[in-house]
Symmetry: C2
Subunit: 233 residues, 2 copies
DNA sequence: ATATTGTTTATGTATAAACATAATGTCGAG
DNA sequence: CTCGACATTATGTTTATACATAAACAATAT
């Protein structure tokens, strides 16, 4: 005779997830409250709370004080993409990572970027063009602005052994930013850089990172032809 | 004289986040353990635990039993995209949502899809082509396979008032799937459907959803020219 | 009717205490 | 010196208890 197993919050979560998945509890429907579930599963309310909070974070449940907990109407609405360092992404595929800084100069940023910099007066900042390669094949073409007013040390950085990307990740802190995925047809320059035909559909990721109020860097990544960004839920 | 405020886990989390952001605790560095932090902040260890767990979930900290907690080497590596219902996305912009099922037939799925269906013998399943519009402008062209062997009711569904997307979300449960973003150059068909020129760069989202072992639906969304998928962290 | 006020209730949070678990480090046997 | 057993330690989890808070609901006053 084995002594009674302790109920874990994972067990509760699995049970609840299953009931939702099997439509025993239907979308929009209210589920029993924590105290009842705690009694049913034979555990403390805190354990149920932990389980349900996780499911709410995942978007499977909607919870409101006093109103109770109900199954979300449209369950899965999020996809989380891991944005790895380019080096890691390439090396994870067993390929040899490489990069080349093709252009590097102080340049006056375009108006829309000047607005985001929130500096008065037009001042030149660091502008970089870098090509990343996997086994010497073009992988990614990067166009980057670095706010040298917020990160003066960048002006002197070599980017010889460390790519601009990795240099920034290592050297400067940031706490926010935004990402935008879009698609373009390859221009002549992009086609030349990435070794594809003009007009190929290419995936583009625009990213701006901030630290507090300061914009640190704004970068546009143009991926090679056929690049796929994948995730599962 | 106000009585001492209770320390909340959010306050602890903010403090810790700030210390990381200000590089008081540097990437890779080990931070004080829970008991010490609890003493410092004047709260229970459980409160610190709650705070740190959140930061670990967010990818800012790495925690291992006995080894302690350390600041993650590359802080932000995830971007979470909310994938709203197309209707909601369009209506949120104040535009009028519409859709038209252009094609609907039982068809033999292509080999790579047959493999994912994991059914023996080639059997036709439901194939749909749908155009979604915002203010009557083409918004999204959808090509969808629905596994009518797992969801027989789909064969009879009208998709008159409810789009295939919404019908599925409402009618059938799913618990997993995968997403792939990529880019294409518009083919003649896509250009015609979406009202753009042949060769325009278009964003594509391929999605397959499962319920247990069954594949439910596999869909390719081709967005209109200039579509941007945005998120912030 | 309508606005206000109060009561009730379900979730949210804080705490101390205890035990579980994984990983590290240490010590001793061989 | 190497390997395995074992103690140590930091995080992980569960519990009971208490109080906080938001929101629904009812009762009341205007």
């Amino acid at each position: 005779m084995s002594r009674a197993e302790r109920i874990t919050w994972q067990a509760v979560q699995d049970q609840v997830r299953q009931r939702i998945s099997q439509r025993q509890w239907k979308p929009g429907q209210q589920i029993p409250h924590e105290a009842d579930l705690a009694r049913e599963f034979g555990c403390a309310r805190a354990t149920v709370n932990r389980a349900l909070r996780g499911l709410a974070d995942a978007g499977l449940l909607e919870r409101r004080r006093k109103a109770g907990t109900r199954v979300a109407l449209n369950p899965v609405r999020r996809a989380e993409f891991s944005i790895p360092l380019i080096r890691e992404e390439i090396e994870a595929k067993g390929q040899r990572f490489g990069f080349r800084v093709l252009r590097r100069e102080m340049r006056l940023p375009p108006p829309e970027l000047q607005a985001r910099l929130q500096i008065d007066g037009a001042q030149p900042i660091l502008y970089l063009q870098t090509l990343y390669t996997a086994d010497s094949q073009p992988y990614l073409f990067e166009t980057r602005w670095i706010n040298t007013l917020a990160v003066p040390s960048a002006a002197a950085a070599e980017f010889a052994t460390l790519s601009p990307n990795e240099w920034l990740v290592r050297e400067v802190a940031f706490d926010g930013g935004d990402f935008t995925f879009s698609a373009i047809a390859a221009t002549a320059q992009e086609a030349r850089m990435l070794g594809c035909k003009i007009g190929e559909g290419l995936l583009v990721l625009d990213r701006t990172t901030r630290h507090g109020a300061d914009m640190i860097t704004s970068v546009r990544l143009v991926f090679h032809r056929g690049y796929r960004m994948h995730t599962r839920i």
